[in-house]
């Protein structure tokens, strides 16, 4: 199983979640985060100016589609990074 982590600006929330659903992810976890990157510091006190982190566990074939679509559809539009890790999961049927 693959864990995909997306860290992006809060404005990208709906587009990212729509993409996850349509690419075949069956659930997701989201939290507000702060940090610093190519676009300077992103503090978390005003929700619109902050970053969010979305985590989703998917099957490898879904992961490939998801990453390809993220790169093509959303990277040009929003401040965003994404990375993939191999994970072991319990209750694999949920994914």
């Amino acid at each position: 199983m693959k864990l995909i982590t997306v860290v992006c600006e809060a404005y990208a929330r709906e587009p990212v979640l729509d993409l996850l659903r349509s690419a075949g992810a069956r659930g997701w976890t989201l939290f507000g985060v702060e940090g610093e990157g190519a676009r300077g510091g992103r503090t978390a006190d005003i929700p619109e100016f902050s970053n969010i982190q979305v985590e989703v566990v998917v099957r490898p074939e879904v992961a490939a589609v998801l990453l390809e679509r993220l790169e093509r559809e959303l990277f040009p539009r929003y401040g965003m990074i994404a990375f993939v890790s191999d994970v072991q999961v319990l209750r694999a049927g949920k994914f």
């Binding site: 507000g32 676009r39 006190d45 005003i46 929700p47 929003y78």
Partner: protein, 326 residues
């Protein structure tokens, strides 16, 4: 009252002093910061409080007195991008996307600036039309949509449709939390009238000044953190951020005068025209014009125009209004 006294009365109000404290806290990198839920809570409180008050005022003034200045306010907001866009594009040499994005921000309005202006009028003892809150509600969205259309027309590839981008932004601009809360509480205030107001006054009226002071402390921190970005935006945008409120402020006052508002009401319409949005507009623009650089429009509206209006722009609009009516 001279202009100097008018400015002094504004600068020494608790709200503006707390704003200055916030800027100072950000500049010295103090660990002072508001948690996100508190920020959200304070904005909701302020919008609902002025919404209800405005709605009650509409119910006692009657819709008949409202429609002309209201319609004029809406057109004023929608027309501002038509002159700011060419200035940004050709005098400032900005790309079409950035010029349209900034023009949209300046046509739209800042609720906090408006609230600070009503506060200021109360402190100098000048009466104003409480239903002016309705102007705040109707001036927020039109300019954002106009800005997006301007951008799409300027950057359009042959055969590309303008409509989808406007549609996605319209949802942000018309149903975002600030417009939704404002319009909703205006309606509730209108329906319940002064009898309803009595019930909520201990919560929404008495503590209002204190909440505003607290909120401006946070806005000072937010604006202060962005001051470093002034170096990135260059002298043109800094000049733009100060001159545009002066021109739009005078335009707003003139429209208020022409449509029969009082000195206080015309001042408020001037402040609305002078102000630039920094919550509703960025949210809609980010979705509809992703190629525009957020540093430019956020720094201009939040780090230049907002502090300028809060300190000098509000007494300036009052001075222009007094001159118009004398």
């Amino acid at each position: 009252m001279t202009l100097l006294e008018a400015v002094q009365a504004n600068l020494l109000s608790p709200a503006v002093l707390f704003f200055a404290l916030g800027v100072f806290a950000a500049l010295v990198k103090s660990d002072l910061r508001f948690p996100e839920p508190l920020y959200l809570g304070l904005t909701i409180y302020l919008l609902v409080a002025i919404g209800i008050k405005g709605g009650v005022a509409i119910s006692s003034a009657g819709l008949a007195t409202l429609w002309l200045p209201g319609l004029a306010a809406m057109f004023l907001g929608a027309l501002i991008p038509f002159w700011t866009f060419p200035v940004l594009r050709w005098t400032g040499g900005l790309p079409a996307a950035d010029a349209a994005a900034i023009a949209a921000h300046y046509g739209s309005v800042s609720a906090v600036t408006f609230i600070a202006a009503t506060n200021y009028l109360l402190s100098v003892g000048l009466p104003f039309e409480n239903y002016a809150t309705a102007f705040l509600a109707i001036m927020e969205a039109p300019a954002i949509l106009i800005g997006i259309v301007l951008c799409k027309l300027a950057t359009r590839q042959p055969g590309e449709a303008v409509f989808p981008a406007v549609k996605s932004a319209a949802h942000e601009a018309l149903l975002g939390r600030s417009v939704l809360l404002l319009v909703g509480s205006l309606l509730i205030g209108f329906v319940t009238g002064s009898a309803g107001m009595e019930k909520v006054a201990p919560f929404f009226v008495t503590p209002f000044q204190g909440v505003l002071a607290l909120f401006l402390l946070e806005m000072g921190i937010v604006a202060g953190r962005r001051l470093g970005d002034l170096r990135k935006v260059g002298p043109f945008l800094i000049g733009f951020g100060i001159l545009v409120p002066l021109v739009n402020g005078a335009l707003g006052v003139a429209v208020g005068h022409a449509t029969g508002l009082s000195v206080g009401g015309a001042t408020l319409l001037g402040v609305l025209a002078a102000s630039a949005s920094y919550i509703a507009a960025p949210a809609a623009i980010r979705v509809a014009i992703p190629e525009a650089n957020p540093t430019l429009y956020l720094t201009a509206s939040l780090a230049i125009t907002f502090p300028f209006n809060l300190t000098l722009g509000i007494p300036y609009c009052l001075a222009v209004a007094r001159w118009f009516y004398s």
